[in-house]
């Protein structure tokens, strides 16, 4: 018998009596799957597919606005829906535990590790005193936290992101549950840390015969971890098969799309006649640390500490690094949004780092930016027309009204949107559409260089491919250069001519894409590449 059986689970948003929405809306529509002890089932799907709702339904933690209208969930033959709320509390954390996506917000910042991990043990096992302490130390040891004895009295903010996720896992494992529900456990982490956490999960489920429901949107993770795969879309399971079979011969069209959304490793050839556009030499961005009433500068935080690179006309340079490596700060410094501490930036033969605000305005037109989060990059109170026209008006391009209108229309059509979208507000569009609008806004002023600050990391995989393709088409048409800031190694080969790897404020390696990706010289680059999950399709 399987450990967890889900049969015909249906979750609906009930019809509201006097609101616009008069119909019941199914969020999850009659899905079934099962997990055996010691097995990892990967539930894959894009945002909004209902995979997180399924996970919450298993622990009966759904928000009150949603209701489970059908189906059965059995944990080791025990129907969870027949339990009272009080009986359910005996299951949560004791027999089935959950790991959340964001360790930052899942840990209580005012409690020590001993209090947080200990809470579950006190509640379910009644441990106290020395026994409690030993149990917590053993748990921390098991999840690989160094010096667990000292760290008992630490607070979450003293730990790194990866360590916090380890603590979350320790909390989940505290009462030796049979089932572990992991909701995107590594999405908020860097690739090297992701690798460690996934290894840890793998090792623990073997050692403890744990059933794991792993929810993710990353096909690389699925390929490395899953024994079985269930693909979800619009609240339905499209395909449900063993992992190795799934990657060799996916049955459903959508599964194939998901697998192939990972760009393969064919490298872009470097430019034959490079002509320098932007040269950055010895760039240092140090943030002063101020202290006291008079705000004396007592020291500096070295966000970027001596970075040099060059971007040629029509070229894409990928700037790769983990969070906190200072890669976004480089982009902001080029845009003159951060003051330089030292170094020199030359754009098209002209030094631009010493220009005043007014003098720099001439270069605002030539250097543009696309941001990561399509939801915060547009003013929610402006129409698309106003958003697109803002840069043109500010930089004095297309002053004539009709001319501007015509240009707005061609722009929208160019990025694959319709003319009637001009008068809508940003909240009416999906993430991918918004990112297209953000691209249209950047190219509206006909720049030479666009700084793309993780433009695809907030998007689903299938949409990511479309946006990247659009960026490449535009590069060919308009001869654009990109500084492509990213942490996602999988998109680089297909996209970049050259790669620069950044770590803790300095460039550790740069060079042509193929050579860096295939024969990395620096140990950090090697670690980064080794950690990136890849799909082994068996081909």
């Amino acid at each position: 018998m399987s450990l967890l059986t889900v049969r015909d689970l249906t979750i609906e948003l009930p019809a509201l009596v006097n609101a616009r929405q008069a119909q019941r809306q199914p969020m999850v529509n009659g899905i079934s799957f099962s997990i055996d002890a010691g097995e990892i089932l990967a539930l894959v799907g894009e945002s909004g597919s209902g995979k997180s709702l399924t996970a919450l339904a298993i622990l009966r933690l759904l928000p009150d606005t949603l209701s489970i209208t059908g189906g059965v969930i059995e944990l080791a033959g025990d129907n969870l829906f027949e339990r009272t709320e009080r009986q359910m509390n005996a299951v949560r954390g004791y027999r089935a535990a959950m790991i959340f996506q964001e360790p930052q917000s899942a840990l209580n910042p005012v409690q020590t590790l001993l209090q947080q991990i200990g809470e579950v043990l006190v509640l379910h096992k009644g441990l106290t005193g020395a026994a409690l302490k030993t149990a917590v130390i053993n748990l921390l040891e098991e999840v690989g936290i160094p010096d667990p004895r000292q760290r008992l009295s630490w607070y979450p903010h003293q730990l790194s992101g990866g360590q916090k996720q380890r603590v979350m896992i320790a909390m989940a494992l505290a009462c030796e549950p049979e089932l572990l529900v992991a909701d995107e456990p590594t999405t908020a982490l860097d690739v090297t840390i992701q690798k460690q956490i996934l290894d840890l999960l793998n090792q623990i489920r073997r050692a403890r015969k744990l059933g794991v429901l792993l929810i993710t949107h990353d096909m690389g993770v699925v390929s490395e971890m899953a024994d079985r795969v269930a693909v979800m879309r619009h609240g339905e399971i499209l395909e449900y098969r063993p992992g190795d079979e799934f990657f060799v011969s996916p049955q459903h069209e959508y599964s194939r799309q998901l697998i192939h959304s990972l760009p393969r490793r064919d490298f872009r050839q470097p430019l034959t006649t490079p002509e320098p556009l932007l040269t950055v030499e010895g760039l240092k961005v140090w943030f002063p640390q101020r202290h006291g009433v008079l705000q004396r500068v007592v020291g500096h935080t070295r966000a970027v500490d001596g970075v040099s690179f060059q971007i040629h006309k029509g070229e894409t340079l990928a700037l790769v690094g983990e969070s906190g490596s200072g890669k976004s700060t480089v982009g902001r410094a080029i845009l003159a949004l951060e003051p330089l501490y030292a170094g020199c930036i030359t754009f098209d033969g002209q030094r631009i780092d010493q220009l005043s605000q007014a003098e720099f305005r001439a270069y605002r037109k030539r250097i543009q930016v696309i941001f990561q989060d399509p939801f915060s990059s547009m003013n929610p109170r402006m129409t698309i027309r106003e958003i697109l026209a803002e840069g043109m008006i500010s930089l004095g391009l297309a002053d004539d009204h009709q001319q501007r209108e015509a240009k707005l229309q061609t722009l929208l059509l160019r990025v694959g949107m319709a003319v009637e979208h001009l008068d809508r507000y940003p909240h009416e569009f999906s993430g991918g559409q918004r990112q297209r609008i953000a691209i249209a806004r950047a190219i509206a002023v006909e720049p030479d260089l666009i700084i793309c600050d993780e433009p695809t990391s907030a998007l689903d995989v299938s949409i990511r491919g479309q946006v990247l393709a659009l960026l490449q088409e535009l590069q060919q048409e308009m001869g654009l250069s990109y500084l492509f800031i990213t942490h996602d190694l999988s998109i680089i080969p297909h996209l970049a001519h050259r790669v620069a790897v950044m770590s803790q404020g300095v460039l550790v390696e740069q060079g042509e894409c193929a050579s860096v990706m295939n024969q990395p010289q620096d140990s950090y680059t090697q670690a980064l590449l080794a950690a990136a999950p890849v799909i082994c399709t068996g081909l």
């Binding site: 705000q295 902001r332 845009l335 949004l337 720099f360 305005r361 605002r364 037109k365 250097i367 543009q368 930016v369 941001f371 990561q372 989060d373 915060s376 990059s377 547009m378 003013n379 929610p380 109170r381 402006m382 803002e390 840069g391 500010s394 930089l395 507000y425 953000a438 806004r441 002023v445």
Partner: protein, 479 residues
């Protein structure tokens, strides 16, 4: 000869400018679909609509009370008393106007006004509250409760007061209901015709979704109440009289203008300071932020009452030393009142300023502000187009919440004697005057009760409305 002389006080101008600005603001809002949707959700709720109507009723009273005029005095035959040659008065008769400044509300409430008794009397009573020496028919002096001069003077000896009150109440309530019914039927017809012809109705028209039943009921209660007060006020003192025999209800109603004005004016005065300083502190940071923070931390650590009391003293001195600028008592009271609004506004902007600074710090880090900077958009424009619209919800919520706070603050300040001029009707003054009588037995409760009820209704309506506005505009609760 009978023409009246209009008197325009500074606060009258302000209140009309305010109402005009509010109307303009709503017209402007109607163009923005996002804002319109939010306001719609305020008015679709029954509480929101009812509270808005009650506030509107109060504002209407305040507006009526802000149309001031002076009545001409009857021509005096004895021209010699004036130190002018008789020949000139013959050729050009000079019209002298009363020193008393009246308002349109006084005209509407003529039945309540000008029927002063000598001292306290209970609500609906026709006898005074204090015993007096009276000479009876047979020449003996007895101490008894004398009949009031005006209240119930139409009654014959032996008529029942209760029966008369019932009869008149019934009549006035029926009149009110009839007026309301006529209104409802007219409106119904108009709506039917509108839907039939589709004249000017948009797809998202408010008419279809407003809670009409609640609106009718609220309006009905207000209309019937007004009819009842107007009818019975002519014959009785509905809420009794105060120490010098003035009608308490009349004073309470006159105090509405003071309450409404102090609420709106003081709130509006806080806005420019709070918005300007708060947003510049959050946006420019650095030394601007330091400066603004020092100012508001300092200001908010000085006890507000102390600051206000000192300022009011200054104003008093100014009025005393410049008597030539204030011809009428009303003008003097008005000046003092505006000064109080100003002081209240100047001392209470720190809360909103702090909120706005925090929100601006957050918003100015968002990508769209960075994108605008990457486009070379100037600071002023970034603040106007990107920051201000995205902190408007905070301003709106603070505006409505502060309103009720200031109404209550006025009552407290007048109570401790640093509020509005004693000659000006205000709830605080009413409470202050009745304070000593609360310890008397039998207690004189009606002055305090009247002020309490009138203030309670206004503040409750404002708070309920503020709650709905917050629900609609706060992004966190809107989801």
């Amino acid at each position: 000869m009978l023409a009246v002389q209009p008197v325009v006080l500074l606060s009258d101008l302000l209140i009309f400018a305010l109402v005009a600005a509010l109307i303009l603001f709503f017209v402007q809002l109607a163009r923005d679909p996002l804002a319109r949707g939010r306001w719609r959700s305020v008015f679709v709720s029954r509480i929101g609509s009812a509270a808005f109507l009650v506030i509107l009723f109060y504002v209407l009273m305040a507006l009526l009370d802000s149309l001031h005029y002076r009545e001409p005095l009857p021509a005096i035959a004895t021209s010699g008393s004036v130190a002018e040659p008789a020949s000139e008065t013959m050729t050009e008769p000079v019209v002298h106007y009363s020193q008393e400044v009246k308002s349109v509300l006084d005209a509407v409430l003529a039945g309540l006004h000008g029927q002063d008794e000598t001292t306290y009397s209970e609500p609906f009573s026709i006898y005074s509250f204090a015993r007096e020496n009276q000479t009876s028919d047979d020449g003996n002096v007895v101490r008894a409760f004398p009949r009031l001069a005006h209240a119930g003077s139409h009654l014959q000896e032996g008529d029942s007061v209760a029966a008369d009150v019932w009869q008149r109440s019934l009549k006035s309530v029926l009149t009110g209901v009839a007026i309301m019914a006529a209104l409802v039927i007219l409106h119904w017809q108009w709506r039917l015709r509108c839907t039939a012809q589709g004249c000017g109705l948009k797809s998202d028209d408010m008419g279809a979704v407003l809670p009409w039943k609640t609106i009718y009921i609220t309006l009905g209660v207000l209309v019937v109440g007004a009819c009842w007060v107007l009818e019975l006020g002519q014959y009785y003192h509905i809420l009794g009289t105060d120490k010098v025999g003035q009608d308490v209800l009349y004073q309470g109603l006159k105090a509405i203008r003071t309450g409404v004005l102090i609420g709106t004016l003081a709130t509006l005065l806080t806005l420019p300071l709070a918005i300007l300083l708060g947003i510049s502190a959050g946006y420019f940071r650095g030394w601007v932020d330091d400066l603004v923070q020092y100012v508001y931390t300092t200001l908010s650590s000085i006890p507000g009452i102390l600051l206000i009391a000192a300022s009011v003293l200054l104003i008093d001195v100014y009025i005393e030393t410049h008597p030539e600028q204030f011809q009428l008592t009303t003008e003097r009271a008005d000046f003092k009142f505006l000064a109080l609004c100003f002081i209240l506004g100047m001392t209470s902007w720190t809360g909103l300023c702090r909120l706005l600074r925090a929100e601006t710090l957050k918003v100015s880090q968002l990508d769209y502000v960075q994108a605008a900077r990457a486009f070379g958009v100037r600071h002023g424009r970034i603040i106007g187009r990107h920051i201000l619209p995205n902190v408007t919800h905070l301003i709106l919520i603070a505006l409505v919440l502060d309103f009720s706070g200031f109404v209550l603050a006025e009552a407290v300040l007048s109570y401790i004697g640093v509020g509005v001029d004693p000659s000006m009707a205000s709830w605080g003054n009413m409470i202050n005057e009745a304070r000593a009588e609360l310890s008397r037995e039998p207690v004189v409760w009606w002055s305090v009760a009247a002020a309490f009820v009138l203030m309670f209704i206004l503040v409750l309506a404002a708070n309920l409305f503020a709650d709905k506005v917050r629900d609609a505009f706060d992004p966190r609760s809107a989801g």
